[in-house]
Symmetry: C2
Subunit: 187 residues, 2 copies
DNA sequence: TATATTCTATCTATCACTAGGTAGGTAGAA
DNA sequence: TTCTACCTACCTAGTGATAGATAGAATATA
């Protein structure tokens, strides 16, 4: 496990993630990635034999990074409102500042045509996020786990939808508009 | 203008819409459409010279159909709550019953890689929908047009996001969960 | 009315190009 | 010497798109 090995492998993932976020599963090729990395397409296949392998590696890393980034929702030293606010801010960064859709939104819209391995990684991501948000909501309000999940799905839908709206209208104000009710209720 | 002529043209649009809704702009080919219609791909090009022409025709028809379907939001014989409920129901039909994403959600997620002509059709659709919803909200509450637009964008984001959530988790309950707050507030 | 012309909707065949993927080779590091 | 990370060269199967032909319907003209 030299440093170089991981560098190329990660660079491929970085660039693939950028392409996916821009146009989805079918909007890039091994050659696109090879050109961007500065190697040949056969070498990309060396690291990730099939496109499914590549994209599920991208999604897997995304989930792993997320799970490391998210604080323990039950740790008393974190205020739940702050956790929620941080989550929303992270999303907004992607959608408004970088004018990208989230990897998750993008791949979900492609779900019907994805290899099964990518679908599994996506499901794991939703599990992680919904679970985390549920726990935050349970701490925020004296509610049970089921109600926490409902609130979690409301917020997550709102965020996904806001990013669609920003992308579709080219007006980033819509992100804050779409979330204003949410903010005034919980933050 | 024989009947037959329009039949093929519309059949192509029907089938193209189905493919787009399933996998987006890059997930189908002229041959896929030709096979489904029962003609050759060259004949599809005869009706719609380029892929951009084809997809913007699909989106254009979608917008036209929508604008004919939506009742006049200022007509006193329609209760605004009923208008809103009908709109949400229509969306739910697509997302939950047919397990599809809306054409609009799908193409928006592909926006960065779409030909400019399709982007223009998409923008026209957002204009139509946001305008219609705004007017309904203005009738529902004694608010100004700006507040109406904000509520419109909140609902539209919620609907888009709910469809993403359903697609991503494979659990259609999330549609109603994501909209429950909305429903209890306005319906 | 009969003939000539044009148009429509399709075909076959092909273009240049790109897709994902593979076989086999090679320089250098372990 | 074996392994890693790359290469060149290639394959098959498509991609969007075009050229040129044709049967039949519609239209214009003699």
């Amino acid at each position: 496990m030299t440093v170089e090995r991981n560098d190329t492998k990660n660079k491929i993932l970085d660039i693939a993630e950028g392409f996916i976020v821009k146009g989805g599963y079918n909007a890039f090729s091994f050659r696109d990635i090879a050109d961007a990395v500065g190697i040949k397409s056969a070498s990309v296949h060396y690291h990730y034999p099939t496109k499914g392998d590549l994209v599920s590696a991208v999604m897997g890393r995304y989930t792993r990074d997320f799970s490391e980034l998210l604080p323990n929702p039950n740790d008393d030293k974190f205020d739940p409102k702050m956790l929620l606010d941080g989550f929303i801010k992270g999303f907004k960064d992607k959608v408004v500042d970088q004018r990208d859709m989230s990897l998750c939104t993008m791949l979900t819209s492609n779900k019907a045509i994805l290899p099964e391995s990518v679908g599994a990684e996506l499901a794991a991501f939703y599990q992680l996020i919904l679970d985390w948000l549920s726990q935050v909501f349970v701490r925020l309000d004296p509610i049970n786990k089921d109600s926490g999940l409902i609130l979690a799905s409301q917020l997550l839908a709102c965020l996904h939808g806001a990013s669609i709206l920003v992308q579709g209208t080219n007006q980033s104000e819509f992100f804050d508009h779409a979330l204003s009710e949410w903010r005034s209720r919980y933050l």
